[in-house]
C-alpha cells in the first residue's frame, strides 16, 4: 500500500480512487483460490523431503509417496471401510443435528430451562466420550451402533450450545416487534429466534462434523470390526504403517468434504449475516 497514495493523488481527477486498488485485489482473489492447494502440496513435498533427507524408516514415518502407493494398492478395502465410517458418522451427526437443534431451541427460548439444564449439560459434556465406549459395547455389542452413538455424543453439544446462544441473545426490540402484533411464543421463536440462530447453527456444524469423525473413528478402533478406525488398527498391528497413514489421509479428505458441504449450505442460507460478502474474505482484515 505504501507507494499507492501518490499515484491516486496524481490522477485523482479522471480516475475513481478505487481503481488503483483493483488489480492487487483481483490478484489476491486468485491467490486465495489456489493457496489452499499450494499449502497442501507444500506439506507433502516437505514431508517427503524430510523422510528422504533423514532416511526415516517406513514403519516410523512413511513418505507420502509410500502412503499414496499403499492407498492405491489397498484402494478397495480403504473405500469399503471409508464408506462404513462415512455412514456411521453421517448417521450419528444427523441425530446430533436434530437433537442439538431441538434441545437448543427449547433451552434457548426459556431462561428458566436454560439455567436449570445448563450445569447438567456441561457436566455431561465433560465426560470423555472415549471412556463411554466400553459401556456402549456392553449395552449394544461390538459393531456400528457404539460408533454411531459416540459420533452423536461428541458432536451434539456444540450444536446445542450454539443454537441456544443464538436464540437466547435475540434483541428484545425484535421480540417486541412480534409481540406487539399479538404473536404467540412459538411464532416469536419461529420468525425471529430460529432465523437469528442459523449463523450460530452453521458455525457449530462445521465444528461438529469434524468432531463426529473423531468420535466414530475412535469407537471403531476400540469396538468394531469394520471402518477406517478398525482398518488403521489392523494395519498398524501388522506394521503396515503406510496403509494406516492412507487411512488417516482418507479421514481428512472426508472431513474436508463434509466441512465444504456445511459451508456451502451456510452460504446459501445465511448470506444475510455476512452481508452477502464471501465468507472467506471476512477473517482477512
Amino acid at each position: 500500500m505504501s507507494g499507492k497514495p501518490d499515484m491516486v493523488a496524481s490522477d485523482a481527477l479522471d480516475a475513481p480512487p478505487a481503481r488503483p486498488r483493483k488489480r492487487p485485489l483481483l490478484r489476491r482473489k486468485a491467490l486465495r483460490r489456489v493457496l489452499p492447494w499450494i499449502v497442501i502440496v507444500a506439506i507433502f513435498v516437505l514431508w517427503e523431503f524430510v523422510v528422504r533427507a533423514f532416511a526415516i524408516e517406513q514403519f516410523v514415518l512413511p513418505a507420502p509417496s509410500a502412503v499414496f502407493a499403499a492407498g492405491w494398492e489397498w484402494r478397495w478395502p480403504i473405500l469399503e471401510n471409508s464408506w462404513q465410517t462415512f455412514m456411521t458418522t453421517v448417521v450419528g451427526f444427523g441425530f446430533a443435528v436434530i437433537f442439538g437443534l431441538v434441545a437448543g431451541v427449547v433451552i434457548g427460548s426459556s431462561t428458566l430451562v436454560y439455567d436449570g439444564f445448563y450445569p447438567a449439560l456441561v457436566g455431561f459434556n465433560s465426560i470423555p466420550k472415549v471412556a463411554v465406549i466400553p459401556i456402549l459395547v456392553i449395552w449394544f455389542g461390538i459393531g456400528t451402533v457404539p460408533a454411531i452413538i459416540t459420533a452423536f455424543l461428541i458432536s451434539f453439544f456444540p450444536i446445542l450450545v450454539n443454537v441456544a446462544a443464538g436464540i437466547a441473545t435475540v434483541e428484545p426490540e425484535l421480540k417486541d416487534v412480534l409481540r406487539a402484533l399479538g404473536a404467540r411464543r412459538w411464532q416469536v421463536i419461529q420468525k425471529v429466534g430460529l432465523p437469528r440462530s442459523m449463523p450460530y447453527f452453521f458455525a457449530s456444524l462445521k465444528v461438529a462434523i469434524t468432531f463426529a469423525f473423531v468420535g466414530s473413528i475412535v469407537a471403531e478402533t476400540v469396538a468394531a470390526n469394520k471402518g477406517i478406525g478398525n482398518l488403521m488398527l489392523v494395519a498398524s498391528s501388522r506394521f503396515e504403517v503406510p496403509l494406516a497413514f492412507a487411512g488417516l489421509l482418507m479421514t481428512s479428505i472426508m472431513g474436508i468434504g463434509m466441512y465444504l458441504v456445511a459451508t456451502f449450505v451456510e452460504r446459501r442460507t445465511t448470506g444475510w449475516a455476512t452481508r452477502g460478502v464471501d465468507m472467506a474474505v471476512t477473517p482477512g482484515t
Binding site: 426490540e173 417486541d176 416487534v177 406487539a180 402484533l181 399479538g182 404473536a183 432465523p195 444475510w272
Partner: protein, 263 residues
C-alpha cells in the same frame, strides 16, 4: 367515542415493587381517528406509555381500554414503529413489510391463498413512501431513512386501527425527518387510523398532531394539553408561521417547567 382510554394508570418496573415508577396516575383519552402527539422531557415514561397502551406491559394500577375492551395482552389491532427500524436482517424489504400478515388474523390464514393481492398491497405501500424498486433489497442495503420508511410500512400493512409511533424519526437527519412527516401525514389522511406519536421534537408534534399532550418528568403523567388548529393537509412551511411557532414556544415552556419541577 374514545378509542383509547387510560384511567389513572401507573406502572412500576420490576417484580417486587421497588423498581422505577415510570407512570403515575396517567389519564389519557384519544378519540377514534385522532392524531395525538405526546411530548415530554427525556426519560419521562413516554415509551412506557406506548408499551402500556399496546399491552406489552400490564399496568401496575389503573385500567387501559382500547376499542371498548380492557387491554390484558398485546393487541393485534395495533401497528407499531419504533425509534430503531428493527427490520429483520434475513428478510428483504418486501418480506419485512409483510411480516405482520403472517401473524395477525384474519390475514395469516388468507395469506397463502391471496398472496398476490397482499404482495401488491405491500408494493403499493412501499411506493407511497418512496421505496419503489427497493422491495428485494435487504435492510442493510438501505439507508437509515429508508429503513425507517419500510418500518412504517410494516406498521401499516395489516390496516391497524391504532398506530403507535415511538420516536420513529429521532435517529434521522432533519431533511429525511421532514420528508417522513409528509409521508406520515399522507398515510394518515388516506387511511385515517388513530395515531399516538411519542416524540421529543416539538415542531414534529405541532406539524403532525391534532392534539399535543405534555408529560411531566418521571413518574410521568399528562400535565398539559393543546389542540393544534392548523388546516390539513399541512405544508412544511407552516411550521415556521407565527401560529406554529407560538405553539412550539408554549409547549417548550411547559416542558421547561416540568423539568424544573423535577430538578
Amino acid at each position: 367515542m374514545n378509542f383509547v382510554d387510560l384511567d389513572r394508570v401507573s406502572l412500576r418496573y420490576g417484580e417486587d415493587g421497588d423498581g422505577t415508577l415510570a407512570l403515575q396516575g396517567t389519564t389519557l383519552r384519544v378519540t377514534s381517528g385522532e392524531f395525538v402527539a405526546v411530548v415530554g422531557p427525556s426519560g419521562c415514561g413516554k415509551s412506557t406509555l406506548m408499551k402500556v397502551v399496546t399491552g406489552l406491559w400490564p399496568p401496575t394500577a389503573g385500567t387501559v381500554i382500547v376499542s371498548g375492551r380492557e387491554v390484558t395482552a398485546p393487541l393485534s389491532i395495533v401497528g407499531m414503529a419504533f425509534q430503531n427500524p428493527t427490520l429483520l436482517p434475513w428478510r428483504t424489504t418486501l418480506d419485512n413489510v409483510m411480516l405482520p400478515l403472517e401473524i395477525v388474523s384474519p390475514h395469516c390464514s388468507r395469506l397463502r391463498k391471496e398472496r398476490a393481492a397482499y404482495v401488491a398491497k405491500a408494493r403499493d405501500l412501499l411506493a407511497l413512501v418512496g421505496l419503489k424498486g427497493f422491495e428485494d433489497h435487504f435492510p442493510w442495503q438501505l439507508s437509515g431513512g429508508m429503513q425507517q420508511r419500510a418500518s412504517l410500512c410494516r406498521a401499516l400493512i395489516h390496516d391497524p386501527s391504532l398506530l403507535m409511533l415511538d420516536e420513529p424519526f429521532a435517529a434521522l437527519d432533519m431533511f429525511t425527518r421532514e420528508e417522513l412527516w409528509l409521508a406520515v401525514q399522507d398515510l394518515w389522511l388516506a387511511r385515517a387510523p388513530t395515531v399516538i406519536l411519542v416524540t421529543h421534537d416539538l415542531r414534529e408534534a405541532v406539524f403532525l398532531a391534532d392534539r399535543v399532550l405534555v408529560m411531566s418528568a418521571r413518574p410521568g403523567r399528562i400535565i398539559a394539553e393543546r389542540a393544534v388548529d392548523l388546516p390539513r393537509p399541512r405544508r412544511l412551511e407552516m411550521t415556521y408561521e407565527p401560529l406554529s411557532v407560538a405553539l412550539v414556544q408554549e409547549l417548550r415552556e411547559h416542558i421547561s417547567a416540568a423539568r424544573a419541577a423535577a430538578a
